[in-house]
């Protein structure tokens, strides 16, 4: 699976997934650590089938940022049945993220 870019208006629909976990990588283009994390998310998406992967540009998603208390990026949100089950803030290694997703 690959990572799909979404817009704020798609957010609610995307996270309400009854079958799989959903990961949303909240990023911005100007954020160095986000660009560092991006290829790691791509790799995870190609390896893990039990989760869907999305990217959301927070510069165009003020509502979501407010609702989910995003105060630093990259922030990775993980949802199950539409509920936030994990939040990872900052640049992480592939192993660390894998552990968070599979927990």
């Amino acid at each position: 699976m690959s990572v799909k870019k979404i817009e704020e208006k798609d957010f609610k629909e995307v996270i309400n997934n009854k079958e799989k976990k959903v990961l949303v990588d909240c990023y911005a283009d100007w954020c160095g650590p986000c660009r560092m994390l991006s290829p790691i998310i791509d790799e995870l998406a190609s390896e893990i089938d039990s989760c869907e992967f999305y990217k959301l540009n927070v510069d165009d998603a003020e509502e979501v940022s407010r609702e989910y208390g995003i105060m630093s990026i990259p922030t990775v949100l993980i949802f199950k049945d539409g509920k936030e089950v994990a939040k990872s803030i900052g640049l992480k290694t592939k192993e660390e993220l894998k552990e968070i997703i599979e927990k």
């Binding site: 650590p33 660009r35 630093s72 900052g90």
Partner: protein
């Protein structure tokens, strides 16, 4: 057996790898997190000669790719121990070299008060330009007394409703031109001779307790706390072997040799007067060429 193991893939470590590979040495670079070091947080680098403007991420990625193209072995593993025989133990294995270059860099210094770690990304930040935009029209505080703290306060004053600038001494170490800019801003309030002694909040920061030199405390409601109290190195794991100073920086008389023969130091992690990209890459090239020369002498 490697000729040189380089610990750290920031600008110093990558430059050392570049020089060592161009001299055809067998090199292993170990990096605990991601390549690039602190520079990846810089949205614009404008003081690297020959490149008028580049993002820190792009510059770091160029350095990384340049080194990778020379078939350099780079492993993302955390060094846990080194010994006098140049054996390096990581979280995944043990590697033997003839020489080691320590280029472990530095990271943001913490206030070391309770809840600080817990609130990172939940109102506590070490990078105003990275996270400032999430605090539009909010009340924030900056703590520190150097240029970074002053720059952060000015930057945030254009985004936030109000900025408290808190410093433990009675005057700022930072440049006076920043200070005069700050005095022109009516939404920056300066609090001197004071320390932040407590962070309050449930699942995010809501207020701070500030204590002045006469031990008077007051609570200030804020949504964001930007910590700009300098950098600190991470050299505890080498302390059994390598001489480090009271602040954790590696001591070196000539800026390249450590107290152990065949173990060299480069970049922000050593005692030095100026910690910049330019001095880091300078250190990296000197450490590699010195190591190569001394390996040759021993052969």
């Amino acid at each position: 057996m490697y000729d040189i193991i380089i610990i750290g893939a920031g600008p110093a470590g990558l430059t050392a790898a570049l020089y060592a590979r161009r001299a055809n040495k067998k090199v292993l670079v170990l990096e605990a997190k991601s390549y690039g070091g602190q520079i990846i947080n810089a949205s614009n680098v404008e003081n690297y000669p020959g490149i008028p403007n580049i993002s820190g991420f792009d510059l770091a990625t160029n350095m990384y790719n340049q080194v990778k193209e020379l078939d350099t072995e780079i492993k993302f593993e955390t060094a846990l121990h080194i010994d006098e025989d140049k054996k390096v133990t990581t979280n995944k294995g043990t590697y033997q070299a003839k020489a080691i270059i320590l280029a472990t860099g530095a990271e943001n210094r913490k206030l070391n008060i309770p809840k600080e770690e817990e609130f990172v990304g939940k109102g506590v930040s070490y990078c105003a330009t990275c996270d400032g935009n999430f605090f539009k029209n909010k009340v924030v505080a900056v703590v520190g007394g150097g240029n970074t703290a002053l720059e952060d306060a000015i930057y945030l004053s254009n985004i936030a409703k109000k900025v408290y600038l808190i410093h433990r001494r009675d005057n700022f170490r930072g440049e006076s031109r920043y200070l005069s800019d700050i005095k022109k801003k009516d939404n920056i309030e300066i609090i001197l001779n004071s320390n932040i002694t407590k962070l309050n909040g449930e699942d995010k920061i809501e207020s701070i307790e500030v204590t002045d030199k006469d031990n008077n405390t007051k609570e200030i409601s804020i949504s964001g706390l930007f910590i700009a109290v300098g950098q600190s190195p991470k050299n505890e794991i080498f302390a059994n072997l390598i001489k480090i100073n009271d602040y954790g920086y590696i001591e070196s008389e000539d800026g390249v040799h450590t107290n152990i023969e065949g173990i060299y130091v480069a970049g922000d992690t050593r005692v030095k007067t100026l910690r910049q990209l330019t001095t880091a890459v300078s250190d990296g090239s000197i450490a590699a060429t010195t190591a190569i020369k001394e390996l040759r002498r021993d052969e």
